[in-house]
Amino acid sequence: MQLAPLVSRLKPARLREAPLFLGGAFAVLIIVVLASTALLGLSQRLLNEIDAGVRIQQKANDVLVLLRRMESGQRGYLLTGDEDFVSAYRESVPIIPQALADLNNEIKNNPEQERLWRELEPVVRKKLDEMAQTIRLFESGDRDAALNLVRSEAGLRYMEDIRRLTQDMKDIQARQLGEHYRDARRQEWLLIGVNLAAISLIIIIGFIAILIVRRANTAMTKAQTVLRDVNAELEANVAARTAELKQANEEIQKFAYIVSHDLRSPLVNIMGFTSELETLKGELFERMAALQQSHSNGSAPALDAPLNEKDQVLADDFDEALSFIKASITKMDRLINAVLVISREGNRTLRPEEVDMNGLLTNMSDAMAHQAQEADARIDIGPLPSLTSDRLALEQIFSNLLDNALKYLRPDAAGHIRVNGRTEGNKVVIEVEDNGRGIDPKDRERVFELFRRAGPQDKPGEGMGLAHVRALVRRLDGVITVKSTPGEGSTFVVTLPRAPLSSSKRMPA
């Protein structure tokens, strides 16, 4: 299964717009709430206006009723001269300015009414004057003059005007009230509409939100399934690869083992017969010398006779050739043994245990004290973290590194070897630092290769120590690197897991 299409399937295009959608929904809700509030405010104002209209009608009526009462009081008094009638008039005289002021107050900001008011007010004054005049005339005893004034019908006309004007005011108000009620009803409907729209919107938004959440869940479940599949696939792949690697490694191990054994067999012959040849050569030259001696002086051949010069050269050539052959065989034997050791190490089962690195390295440096003294070197073991790993492998790794450090010191400076350690996460880093001859940059990878060595070849060795060390470090799931300045020293950095990656496994070398 390929990863790319799987991952693209995980891309929920719609889901990415979800926050945008929810933000929009929220904005719509806020607008609906604001609109409702505004509409409620408008309704409130309308209600106030309706209230004001009703008050204008009342006040206009009040003025009319008051004037009617005064007029009837005046008429009654003029007819009968009864003081009871005039008292009704007199009581009203101080009240009428207030009633007028109230009406004037109510109609402010209402241009139509104000126009009527401007007509009404002088008529009311005239009516009040007329009534006041008739009563004054009557009280001064001029009853006829008073009655004449009444008969002139001026008062009647005034009253008729007032009635008409107040009726107009009431009519206007009634009309305006009707409009206001209509407006109010419209606003009510609007409010209901807006609220219904809001409720529908909320339901729709909720529905869509549920859809989005469901889709997100479905996408998530799908993603999880895909992820699980990918993981399973990956694990299967890793397991398969590991098995393949293990098999390949085992084959290499077996190959190295068989090759080294089969190489050894002919080597035994070469060495054996070379030695046999050497013995033969000795016997041959002995007999040659004896024969020569007996030939020259006629005596019996003696076994301890010296060779003549020419034969001695021959014998020496023989020895030289044989010694080269034997040295080469010995070297080849050592190399084959080195391969065997490494291949055998790869087959060994690791036994991880808690290892006190301080103790391990201190013991090691104590054991090397004599060697260090001879090399004029000092070994310092810094505080080291402990780890869980194969003790034997660790011993081999660090004894090889210490051994190398002692081996490749500079003759002109006292050797100083330091072992430092630290913990980095779940890894342990141990550094073996020396002030020796160092390694040329071009040789830094080579030194880890089998049978390869760097620098002047003045020390014995097969070139297998570091190859073995790297194989061991890798088997412990670690890494080894080298930092070095030629002529100043080298630092080998070994990074190992603090505990085995998985317990008791056989790792390839």
Partner: protein
């Protein structure tokens, strides 16, 4: 060692066989040595002579062309007539498990052929010394 004992050498490498023979002789062992370079003819010989009056001592190499020395060892130790014949495994393999297996199957001595001839010769001479003291049972 009783001169009636025959040394049966099963060794596919002619050179090795020659070197072994030479050194056995040098050690002063005069018993007859019969050499086989493959497993099947060696087994055939052993089966034939196991019943005869001659006592046998087997020198066995583990790497043979037609079978492994282990197979031969197993057959010998399972054979009523040959079971008591001493078997000396003489081979290049120095694998611990191989050595253990040979002893488990009943081999008497296990010797690794060293490349260093001095050691090789020495080992064979010691073996010769061993031959001179070992008591080989008369075959049935």
């Amino acid at each position: 060692m009783n001169n009636a004992v025959t040394i049966v050498m099963i060794e596919d490498d002619e050179g090795h066989a020659r070197l072994i023979e030479k050194n056995i002789v040098r050690a002063g062992v005069t018993n007859p040595i019969v050499h086989f370079s493959n497993g099947s003819t060696a087994l055939h010989y052993l089966e034939q002579n196991g019943q005869s009056a001659r006592s046998l001592l087997v020198l066995l190499d583990l790497n043979l062309p037609d079978m492994t020395g282990i197979d031969i060892l197993q057959k010998l130790k399972n054979d009523e007539g040959l079971r008591r014949a001493p078997v000396i495994v003489l081979t290049t393999t120095d694998d611990k498990r191989e050595i253990e297996r040979c002893y488990e199957l009943g081999c008497n001595v296990y010797i690794t052929k060293p490349v260093e001839y001095e050691h090789f010769a020495n080992a064979i001479r010691q073996l010769g010394l061993f031959f001179s003291v070992i008591q080989v049972p008369e075959s049935a």
